[in-house]
């Protein structure tokens, strides 16, 4: 690609005109945009850092800095995350649901993706539309629907962990579908075809030729499912059977305005730390797998594009 220098006009332009050029000129120095982006990132991240800082407060305030301590994590005998049973159980419930969601959704979604991509028939288009519909249905609608179905029709499914897990699997299935399907379309049908020509059965072709190539997409979809399951609030709350099946977001919702102590910040910070560690480990695994398959380029950039594909 050739780099074209912006023509130097020599005449002094008004500031407004220059600002417009920074915005528009693909080759000039976009100083306005740099400033804007940096401000956005500060606005986006600093409130979180401040919330984490308050979780280390020695005092009770969640709005002013009061020394440093682990009181709200460990030491407070009643209210710390370690000693308050509600906070503790919320953390475990979040992790339990996320684990179930990843373990069930990923295999289910991979099979769905392969099947829907290769299956030519009237049912395939409809099923694809139905799975995309789960992506755009507001959560409150899906939560109401599942709540009512468990109360009135599928009554053998109890509200609580079971119902919540079903909810999480239902809304995260489409993310696996989109990520794996994208990779399948990139791979194309040649490899299976070659395997079939060499005498493999359809199942063998999938298992021996296709699945190994899908491993990076499978790991990536696992990360995404884990993250959205940890993040979910509405469906989890609608299908909760009481305090003992509340997750971290549900606890933040019910205590955020009524019973505020920095322990809630501590719980949120702890959850964030755990999410980041698990996601980072999975990301490193994904990067390694990707490298082993000979894919090059920035892993973060590819992951961001992947993430973006799942939302558009």
């Amino acid at each position: 690609m050739t780099i074209v220098e912006a023509p130097v006009t020599g005449t002094r332009r008004r500031t407004l005109g220059r600002a417009r050029d920074w915005w528009a000129n693909p080759w000039g120095k976009p100083r306005f945009l740099v400033l804007f982006t940096v401000l956005y990132l500060i606005w986006s991240i600093v409130p979180i850092l401040i919330a984490i800082r308050f979780s280390f407060n020695e005092g009770r305030s969640r709005s002013t800095a009061q020394g440093w301590s682990l009181r709200w994590y460990l030491d407070d005998p009643d209210l710390s995350v370690r000693h308050d049973p509600d906070l503790r159980s919320a953390l475990f419930q979040s992790l339990r649901l996320a684990a179930i969601a990843v373990l069930v959704t990923v295999p289910l979604g991979v099979a769905l993706a392969i099947g829907l991509t290769r299956w030519r028939g009237r049912g395939a288009g409809t099923s694809r539309a139905v799975s995309l519909a789960t992506l755009v249905t507001p959560e409150i609608v899906m939560g109401t629907a599942l709540l009512l179905v468990f109360i009135h029709l599928l009554t053998f499914i109890q509200l609580g962990t079971m119902a919540q897990a079903i909810g999480h699997i239902t809304f995260s299935l489409v993310f696996v579908l989109i990520i794996v399907r994208g990779r399948l379309l990139a791979i194309g049908p040649h490899y299976e075809e070659a395997a079939r020509d060499l005498g493999a059965s359809a199942l063998q072709a999938v298992r021996l030729a296709l699945l190994p190539m899908l491993v990076p997409a499978i790991v990536a979809s696992g990360i995404v499912v884990f993250a959205i399951s940890m993040d979910d609030f509405v469906i989890t709350q609608f299908l909760s059977s009481g305090t003992n099946t509340d997750t971290v977001p549900v606890r933040i919702y019910s205590q955020g305005r009524t019973a505020p102590t920095p322990a809630l910040n501590a719980l949120a910070a702890l959850t964030l730390a755990i999410t980041i560690v698990i996601a980072a480990l999975a990301f490193l695994l994904w990067k390694a797998v990707r490298a082993a398959r000979g894919q090059t380029g920035s892993a973060v950039q590819e992951f961001a594009a992947l993430d973006a594909d799942t939302i558009r």
Binding site: P26, L148, D231, S298
Partner: protein
């Protein structure tokens, strides 16, 4: 369909295999996604048990009872009625929050996609980070900041904009809209980024070679090209906003900022009139059907272009 496709996918036996592979997932979606919608309808068109006040769904569409819908439509279409105010307020909040998000998101996505350079990986990490921080935690952070003695008041007083601390968390539309923008904007940025990153730079070079000013090149080439991404981004953040009830609950807690989601939450989880809640959900879905339909159709078209 190419020859190759026909050989792999078109074989009758092969096709059954692929359908079988998709079956568990498809069955799951029909059982836990489509069937529940029918149950919503049956509850909305059902009755309430006179003694226990529990809803009694009507499974037979021929005997559907419309009283819950009559109640909702009365609240919607008689002027000044409760549901009408709430629907209009929701619409205003969502439109304002979506517009603000777009104004902030576009320059950021544009910068990262076009000028990221060697900082791109770091910038992208910053853009993805919110996806790993729970939405509720991000609202909690703002509750901390917006309290009477919080840092927002401190800063505003220090700068001289305010004389005394303002109560931000008690029924202020501005706080709710701030929360909505803060909460949903990462989705829009990423949707825009993915698209802007793929725009072919030689198109801009061509525009410049043909004498367009940088601004004209942006206005006549980049902006029209990114229209589908803008629409996708708008839909993808507007839809969940319409069902949001936790942002107003956490950042205002007042009926004066109640949105449609708050009403649904109230009727479904707290109330005795669950059929009314179900009817509200049905009405909301019909209202959103246009947006959802647009999204599904345009996504399907984009996938077809990719060679599905």
């Amino acid at each position: 369909m190419s020859d190759r496709d026909r050989r792999v996918g078109g074989k009758q036996s092969g096709n059954a295999f692929w359908a079988g592979l998709a079956l568990p997932g498809v069955a799951w979606l029909y059982l836990f996604f489509l069937l529940p919608f029918y149950v919503i309808l049956c509850v909305a068109f059902g009755t309430v048990d006179p003694i226990f006040q529990t809803p009694a769904p009507e499974w037979n569409p021929l005997q559907w009872n419309t009283s819950a819908f009559e109640f909702v439509f009365e609240g919607l279409f008689s002027s000044g009625a409760a549901f009408q105010t709430v629907f209009l307020r929701t619409l205003v909040y969502v439109v304002v929050a979506t517009a603000l998000s777009l104004l902030i998101a576009y320059p950021v996505a544009y910068y990262v996609a076009r000028y990221g350079g060697r900082w791109k990986t770091l910038l992208l990490l910053g853009l993805i980070a919110p996806f790993f921080i729970s939405y509720l935690m991000r609202m909690l952070a703002w509750i901390n900041l917006l309290q009477d003695d919080g840092w927002v008041n401190d800063v505003l007083i220090w700068v001289g904009i305010l004389d005394a601390p303002r109560n931000w968390l008690d029924g202020r539309a501005s706080s709710v809209i701030l929360g909505l923008v803060y909460g949903y904007i990462p989705f829009m940025i990423l949707a825009l980024y993915a698209f802007l990153d793929r725009i072919d730079r030689s198109l801009l070079e061509a525009a410049r070679d043909l004498g367009a000013s940088p601004f004209q090149a942006f206005r006549l080439v980049t902006l029209p090209l990114s229209m589908p991404a803008i629409l996708a981004g708008v839909v993808i953040i507007a839809l969940p906003m319409f069902g949001d009830y936790y942002t107003p609950d956490l950042l205002s807690q007042s009926p004066s900022t109640s949105m449609v989601g708050n009403q649904i939450n109230l009727y479904i989880r707290g109330g005795q009139q669950i059929p009314v809640g179900a009817a509200l959900v049905v009405v909301l879905m019909m209202f959103l059907a246009v947006l959802m339909g647009y999204y599904i159709v345009s996504t399907a078209r984009a996938q077809r272009r990719l060679g599905a």
